[in-house]
Symmetry: C2
Subunit: 343 residues, 2 copies
């Protein structure tokens, strides 16, 4: 480990700080003019993800503007299906489109090819690592198996994940096989992310809502647990931030079984509920509503102060409870950083 | 009150039953061939809602097939904006479309015209009341103000209610005025529903997720509380089922402040969590995942039994945790009813 203190990584390791360290989900993104400028010059979205010089540059852009404590790899959760050989396209303004997978099509996925296809991601991490000031934490990530599977099965995002939920209940063997493929690919991918310089990785379970308790245990808890255990079998001190979005009531069960080093909270999770429900030693991350950041003004300060106060007695990383919105004014982000840093 | 026992209403009033009474959200709907047949003959969706003979017939259809304990008024939560004078259309397969409201447009809403426009709804309730067997409970409903406002502001449904959430934070005075109009219209509407024969009304807060704690208190709890208090000021024993969907962690605060007679649970709420978090005397309703009903088979029986067991020590109304899906096989509904009834 680096001899220089990294406040964000230290917080994940359990240290409380005088002021919470800070990063912002989607901090490298469309609200930044320099991102939009670079994005317009690049080819497809996936080409941008797979071009190390550009992906590293995009990753570092927000840290040049704001006093953030971490860089997060610029990539997408759907590089895994792409690397498995499923067709993935990002249509402008429409979100991702995939060739939906069928039980019969599972055999065509190529788990052995994943690390080769994702080699540019590891080079990106190495470049970021080399350019990042020593006090900054480098965050890698992947999509959790259920969330990735919802896109692979439906061929697109959806409001209720109905296609994947029907698939899981009516084709349980094919579903289990798909989840197993994703667990193994994710373990291999994350191990290489740590080897390439990631200090910590976040597991994005973006579609953890819309599941009943048993489904949550089967689709969310079990696969995420396997990933954490699988990576730690090879890298014992591998640090994880778990982020099961939209499942406040299941957070204690998730934390106890998956055993992440820190737990990301969406903005729908009441801070005092989370503080009561979770072990005091468990670091939490979050959970400002991105709409409050977009709207700005005194309500933003009030909301920031409330979150910091609610988590004052435990290790806390300040963040949004969901990704920053493209129309967010830069001045509001500056205001957020000043407020969190106590300026 | 009728001298004949109504198991579902009695449960709402706090009586435990040997087997839970049962109704199904959207039980009058597209999964029924007789509904599809009648719908094809009717004009627009709103015309169907406003034609008492047809709306009453649709309401009663599911009770002819299944041993359900309640009929629920066939209508829509968007009759309120329609009655206020906002343009509301239902496009086939696309969901509702409204002319989005602006702060300047609030003055054009006509709260005084609401009851006149909704007169056919009250006639529908009277017709259902007259035709309903005496042991069956008649449920009325309205959309809660925040949920209705999300459609009025965005002009359509949305996955994240961003338009309404931005409106609320950036135009707080106009937003408060809109909510006040909806609270008053809802009180008048529900009082007339009780007078026309409803035994109980359900407050559908379908978009209670995606709010942070303060927003939930301001947009959900406060207006629903005003509605319950406003109706009870005129009908002291008016019975309410509150249903704030997608906000498991906020259920205790909602129940304590809004004081519904029963609380509807979505399927994302773990039953044992709800049972622990809520007063033992509070009746609950729910919460089977509609996808499980659609998929059928042994997993359906297991899920039904689990829910009944979890709520075995409190008054419990069996229901889905969200509306029944159009592609649900009739045979699965028959299986559900048999299983719940202990057959």
């Amino acid at each position: 480990m680096s001899p220089v203190a990294k406040p964000l990584l230290d917080t994940i390791r359990g240290a409380r700080q005088a002021r919470p360290p800070l990063w912002i989900m989607r901090q490298a993104g469309r609200y930044l003019p320099e991102y939009r400028e670079l994005r317009a010059r690049a080819g497809s979205f996936l080409e941008l993800c797979y071009t190390p010089a550009l992906a590293a540059e995009v990753t570092l852009q927000p840290l040049r503007r704001f006093d953030l404590d971490a860089a997060i790899l610029f990539s997408d959760i759907l590089v895994i299906p792409d690397a498995l050989g499923q067709e993935v396209r990002f249509e402008a303004g429409e979100g991702p489109r995939l060739e939906p997978i069928t039980p019969e099509g599972l055999g065509k996925l190529r788990p052995d090819a994943v690390l080769e296809r994702l080699a540019p991601v590891f080079e990106t991490l190495e470049r970021i690592r080399g350019a990042l000031p020593p006090g900054k934490t480098l965050i890698g990530f992947c999509g959790s198996p259920w969330t990735v599977a919802t896109y692979m099965i439906a061929g697109a995002g959806s409001t209720d994940q109905a296609a994947a939920r029907i698939f899981a209940l009516t084709q349980p063997q094919a579903f289990a096989a798909l989840i197993d493929i994703l667990v193994e690919a994710s373990i291999a991918y994350l191990v290489r992310q740590f080897e390439a310089g990631a200090d910590v990785v976040q597991l994005f379970e973006s579609w953890a809502m819309n599941l009943d308790e048993q489904q949550f245990r089967d689709y969310v808890i079990a696969p995420n647990r396997k990933i954490v255990e699988g990576v730690r079998a090879r890298i014992p001190d591998a640090a994880f931030i778990g982020f099961p979005r939209g499942a406040a009531a299941m957070l204690p069960a998730y934390a106890a079984a998956v055993r992440p080093d820190a737990l990301g909270l969406d903005y729908g999770t009441p801070p005092d509920f989370a503080d009561r429900a979770l072990p005091r030693s468990l670091p939490v991350q979050g959970n400002l509503d991105p709409i409050r950041l977009l709207a700005g003004g005194p309500q933003l300060d009030l909301a920031i102060d409330g979150i910091i106060a609610a988590f004052g007695n435990r290790p806390h990383i300040f963040n949004l409870g969901h990704g920053i919105l493209p129309q967010t004014p830069i001045a509001n982000v500056e205001r957020l950083v000043r407020r969190v840093k106590g300026g």
